[in-house]
C-alpha cells in the first residue's frame, strides 16, 4: 500500500480549485485554491466544518460541477474542460457516487436502482441483449452488500442503512475506479455508520477502489488512509493515517 501512495501520477487530482457561488447579489467563495489528489487504491477522507467547501470539492472532482479556476486531472489528463458528453461518460464509467441522503430513485425497485447506471450506459437494444448478465451482476453486488433478500423493495420500504448499502451497490455496478462519498454516514446512527464504513474499507481493499469520502465526523474520518482537512475553502492540513495504512497492509 505504501508503494501505491508513493506513485508519482495520482489517479485523480484537483489543483488550486477556486469556486464562487452566486445567489442573488451574494457571492460566496466556497473554494479558495484548495487542491487534493488521490492515488489508486487510496482511501481519503475530507473533513471540515459546514461551509468549508468539502462537498463542493467532491462535486468538482466528480465532474458534477466545474471549477472557476484550477483544473481536475484524471490519470494526469485534464478532464474539467471536456465537453458535456465526455463528462457524462466519465461520470458513468469512472466515478461512483454515494450521498448522505442515499438518493435512490423512488419509482424504481432496489434492483432497478442498482441496474440504473448500466441502463444509462447501454442503448435499449444493447441493454436487452445483456439484460440477463446485468441482472446477475446487480444481484451479485446486492448480495455482496448484504441486500440479496430485498431486491424487489422500493426505497420507501428500506431502512437508512439498507438504502445506503443499496446506493453503494448502485455505485459499484459500473466497476468505477473512484468512489466519491458525500457524508455517507451523515444520516445514519453510529453503529450503522460504522457498518457502512466497514463495507467501504472492504471494497477499498478487495476491489482496489479509490475512495474520497467527505465527512464532518472525526471518528469516521480516521478510518481513511489519509485525512485532508479543509477550512474556509483552503487545505488546512493533510495527515497520513499510519494506523490505518498499517491495518490495510
Amino acid at each position: 500500500m505504501a508503494q501505491i501512495i508513493k506513485m508519482t501520477t495520482p489517479l485523480i487530482s484537483a489543483k488550486a480549485i477556486q469556486k464562487t457561488y452566486t445567489t442573488g447579489q451574494h457571492h460566496v467563495r466556497v473554494l479558495r485554491g484548495a487542491g487534493i489528489s488521490a492515488n489508486e487504491g487510496e482511501f481519503i477522507s475530507v473533513i471540515g466544518q459546514s461551509g468549508s467547501g468539502k462537498s463542493t470539492m467532491l462535486h468538482v472532482l466528480g465532474l458534477l460541477d466545474s471549477p472557476d479556476v484550477g483544473e481536475v486531472l484524471y490519470e494526469g489528463k485534464r478532464i474539467d474542460n471536456l465537453n458535456e458528453t465526455t463528462r457524462d461518460l466519465l461520470r458513468n464509467r469512472v466515478f461512483g457516487f454515494i450521498f448522505q441522503f442515499y438518493h435512490l430513485l423512488p419509482e424504481l425497485s432496489l434492483l432497478e436502482n442498482v441496474m440504473a447506471p448500466l441502463m444509462i450506459r447501454h442503448s435499449l437494444w444493447n441493454y436487452w441483449k445483456q439484460r440477463r448478465e446485468i441482472k446477475q451482476q446487480a444481484l451479485e453486488i446486492l448480495e455482496e452488500v448484504g441486500l440479496g433478500h430485498r431486491i424487489k423493495h422500493r426505497p420507501s420500504q428500506l431502512s437508512g442503512g439498507e438504502l445506503q448499502r443499496g446506493a453503494i451497490a448502485r455505485a459499484l455496478i459500473t466497476k468505477p475506479r473512484i468512489l466519491l462519498a458525500d457524508e455517507p454516514t451523515g444520516n445514519l446512527d453510529a453503529e450503522t455508520g460504522l457498518e457502512i464504513i466497514a463495507l467501504l474499507k472492504k471494497l477499498n481493499i478487495t476491489n482496489r477502489l479509490t475512495i474520497v469520502m467527505v465527512t464532518h465526523d472525526e471518528a469516521i474520518a480516521t478510518q481513511a488512509h489519509r485525512i485532508v482537512r479543509l477550512k474556509e475553502g483552503r487545505i488546512e492540513n493533510a495527515v497520513i493515517n499510519k494506523a490505518m495504512i498499517a491495518t490495510a497492509m
Binding site: 460541477d65 458528453t85 448502485r170
Partner: protein, 538 residues
C-alpha cells in the same frame, strides 16, 4: 433504456398525469363524435341535393328556354354519349302558388319544375322523394308506403288521393247546394271534362265595388259584398264542381302544404297538413316570349319530400307538357295537334361515373354556345351552400381543437409540476452519467406516452359513442323525458354518422402532437437543471 423505464414508471405512478390523459381523451372523443355526426349530416345533405339535381345540368340563360328538346338531347348524346347513363329535359320557372283553405287564400312563391317523372327517376332518385313511395313518419309513427318503390313514378292519383278528392268535392257540393249557390240541380254537378273552369266567368260576376264612389242611401245596410274580400266567390253563382282531376298534375313540396307546431302541453312537434293529394292548387307563372301572367289549376298527386328544406318549401314538380302548354312553349300542328316544336330550360344528365364530370362539362361547353346555356356539375351549381357547410365544419373543428389545446396547457402545467417534483431525481440521473438529452427525452416521451394513451382512449370512446349514438340518444331522451334528437325536424329515423378513418387518424395525431409540444418546455427545463443544485433541492 432508463428513459423508457422511467417514462413508463412515471406514467404508472403519477396519478396527476391521469388528468391530462382524461382531458386529451375527452377532446379527441368529442372531435371524433362531432366530426362523424357532421359528416353524416353533410353526406346526407349532399345526397339529397345530388339526388334532386343530376350530375351535370345544362341550363338556358333565358327562362324562355332553348328550342327542340329532342335535338338538344341528341346533341348531348352525340357529344358525350359514352359517359351518359341517362338524360332528361325539364322546364324551370319561378311562379306563385295559391292554396285555398276555409275561404282563405295562401299564396307562396315557388319554383315550378316541369318534368317527365319516369325519365327524371332515371337521372336521380326521384322515387326517394315522393311521399307515396316511401313510409311516412307522422307524429312519431311510421306509416307504410302507399306505392311500391319498384313502380315507376307517374301522374296518376293514388286510390287514397282519388277517394279524398271525391270526398272533398262532395262536401263542397253539399255546402254550395245548401247555400243555394250551385246553379244546376243535377246531383253530379260534373263539368264536361277538358274544361279547367269551375267558376263562372269574370263577366258574370258582379263588378267589384268602388269604395270611394258616393254610395246610395241605405247601401251601407244592404251592401251585398264582404268589404274585406270584395272578390269572394261565395257570392257568385257556380255552374258546377269539377270532380275529375285536372290535366295539370303536381308533386308539391311538403313545406308548401304543411307546417309543424309544437304542442304546448306535450312539447312534441306535430305536423299540420293544410292540403292533401287529390286537392287542387292554383299556379301562376309567366308565359315564355312576352311575359304575360298565366294562371291555371293543377291537382296534387303526390307530396315531394327531399329532406332539404330549401327544396321542400319551394318546389312544385309538374308534368312537363302541361307546363310547356301553359307557358306557350309548345307549337302544335293545327290539324293533327301533334307537337312540332317545344322549348325547354334545362337538361339534366346522369353520368355512368361521376369522376368524369369535369370532362363531360368541358365537352358540353364546346358543343353548346356559352351565350345560350350554362353547363355545370351539381356541385358547382350548389357551390355556395356546399362551401358554407365546409366552412362551418372547418370553424367547428378549429374550435374543438382548442379543447385539445387546453388539454395541452394542462399537460404543460402538470409537467412543470412533475419536473419540480423530480428535480432531485434528475440530479441523481445526471450524477449517474445521464446526458441532458437523455433527461429531455424522458419528459418528451412521457408527453408522447400521455398523448398516445389519451388519444387511443379518446378514439375508442369516440368510436363506441358514434357506433351507439342512437342508443345513447334514446337513453338520454328517456332520462330527460324530452327527445334529444327530434326525428320530425330532420326527417331522419336515425342520427346519420360517417366515420372517416383519415379524420380519426388526423385528430389522434394532432392530439399526440399537442401533448409532445406541451412537454417540450418542461423537458428543456429538466435537461438544463444543474446537477449539484438539483441534488441539493428540497
Amino acid at each position: 433504456m432508463y428513459k423508457l423505464l422511467l417514462c413508463l414508471r412515471y406514467l404508472r405512478t403519477r396519478y396527476i398525469a391521469l388528468a391530462s390523459i382524461v382531458s386529451v381523451m375527452l377532446g379527441v372523443a368529442t372531435m371524433i363524435v362531432v366530426n362523424s355526426v357532421l359528416a353524416g349530416f353533410t353526406n346526407e345533405m349532399r345526397d339529397r341535393i345530388h339526388g334532386f339535381l343530376a350530375d351535370v345540368v345544362i341550363e338556358s340563360r333565358s327562362k324562355d328556354g332553348i328550342r327542340n328538346s329532342k335535338d338538344q338531347l341528341q346533341q348531348v348524346h352525340d357529344a358525350v354519349g359514352a359517359y351518359v347513363a341517362a338524360a332528361t329535359c325539364t322546364v324551370e320557372m319561378p311562379g306563385v302558388t295559391s292554396i285555398e283553405i276555409n275561404g282563405e287564400t295562401y299564396t307562396t312563391p315557388v319554383t315550378i319544375v316541369g318534368i317527365i317523372p319516369w325519365e327524371k327517376a332515371r337521372v336521380g332518385p326521384l322515387v326517394d322523394c315522393l311521399a307515396s313511395h316511401n313510409p311516412t313518419i307522422e307524429n312519431g309513427e311510421v306509416l307504410p308506403a302507399l306505392r311500391s318503390r319498384g313502380v315507376s313514378p307517374g301522374w296518376e292519383l293514388t286510390s287514397e288521393a282519388a277517394e279524398w278528392r271525391r270526398f272533398i268535392k262532395e262536401q263542397q257540393e253539399i255546402i254550395l247546394r245548401n247555400e243555394g249557390l250551385l246553379e244546376s240541380s243535377d246531383s253530379t254537378g260534373i263539368v264536361p271534362s277538358g274544361s279547367d273552369v269551375t267558376v263562372t266567368t269574370e263577366s258574370e260576376r258582379p263588378e267589384p265595388p268602388i269604395f270611394d264612389a258616393p254610395q246610395t242611401a241605405g247601401s251601407d245596410v244592404d251592401f251585398p259584398f264582404d268589404p274585406v274580400d270584395p272578390f269572394n266567390i261565395t257570392d257568385s253563382v257556380i255552374s258546377g264542381i269539377r270532380k275529375e282531376p285536372h290535366e295539370a298534375r303536381v308533386y308539391i313540396g311538403e313545406g308548401l302544404v304543411s307546417y309543424q307546431v309544437r304542442d304546448p302541453e306535450t312539447g312534441k312537434l306535430e305536423q299540420v297538413t293544410m292540403i292533401r293529394p287529390g286537392e287542387d292548387v292554383t299556379i301562376t307563372t309567366v308565359k315564355a316570349g312576352r311575359p304575360e301572367p298565366v294562371s291555371f289549376e293543377a291537382t296534387i298527386c303526390d307530396i315531394f319530400r327531399s329532406g332539404m328544406s330549401e327544396y321542400d318549401s319551394q318546389l312544385i314538380l309538374m308534368n312537363l307538357e302541361q307546363l310547356q302548354q301553359n307557358r306557350g312553349m309548345l307549337v302544335r300542328d293545327p290539324e293533327t295537334g301533334e307537337i312540332i316544336e317545344d322549348k325547354i330550360t334545362s337538361i339534366q344528365i346522369k353520368l355512368k361515373d361521376y369522376t368524369n364530370a369535369e370532362i363531360v362539362v368541358e365537352k358540353l361547353k364546346a358543343v353548346f354556345p356559352p351565350g345560350l346555356v350554362t353547363v355545370r356539375t351539381w356541385e358547382s351549381k350548389q357551390g355556395l351552400l356546399l362551401s358554407a357547410v365546409e366552412m362551418e365544419t372547418a370553424i367547428l373543428n378549429v374550435l374543438l381543437f382548442l379543447i385539445i389545446t387546453v388539454a395541452g396547457f394542462g399537460i404543460l402545467a402538470i409537467f412543470f409540476m412533475i419536473v419540480v417534483e423530480k428535480t432531485r431525481d434528475i440530479g441523481i440521473l445526471k450524477s449517474l452519467g445521464a446526458s441532458s438529452r437523455g433527461i429531455m427525452s424522458i419528459f418528451l416521451s412521457y408527453g408522447l406516452g400521455l398523448g398516445m394513451v389519451g388519444s387511443m382512449a379518446g378514439v375508442c370512446i369516440g368510436l363506441v359513442f358514434v357506433r351507439y349514438i342512437n342508443q345513447i340518444e334514446e337513453a338520454l331522451s328517456w332520462l330527460t323525458g324530452r327527445r334529444v334528437f327530434d326525428r320530425d325536424i330532420y326527417y331522419f329515423s336515425r342520427i346519420p354518422t360517417h366515420v372517416s378513418p383519415m379524420m380519426v387518424f388526423c385528430v389522434a395525431m394532432g392530439a399526440v402532437g399537442i401533448a409532445v409540444v406541451a412537454s417540450v418546455l418542461p423537458a428543456r427545463r429538466a435537461s438544463r437543471l444543474h446537477p449539484v443544485r438539483a441534488l441539493r433541492f428540497d
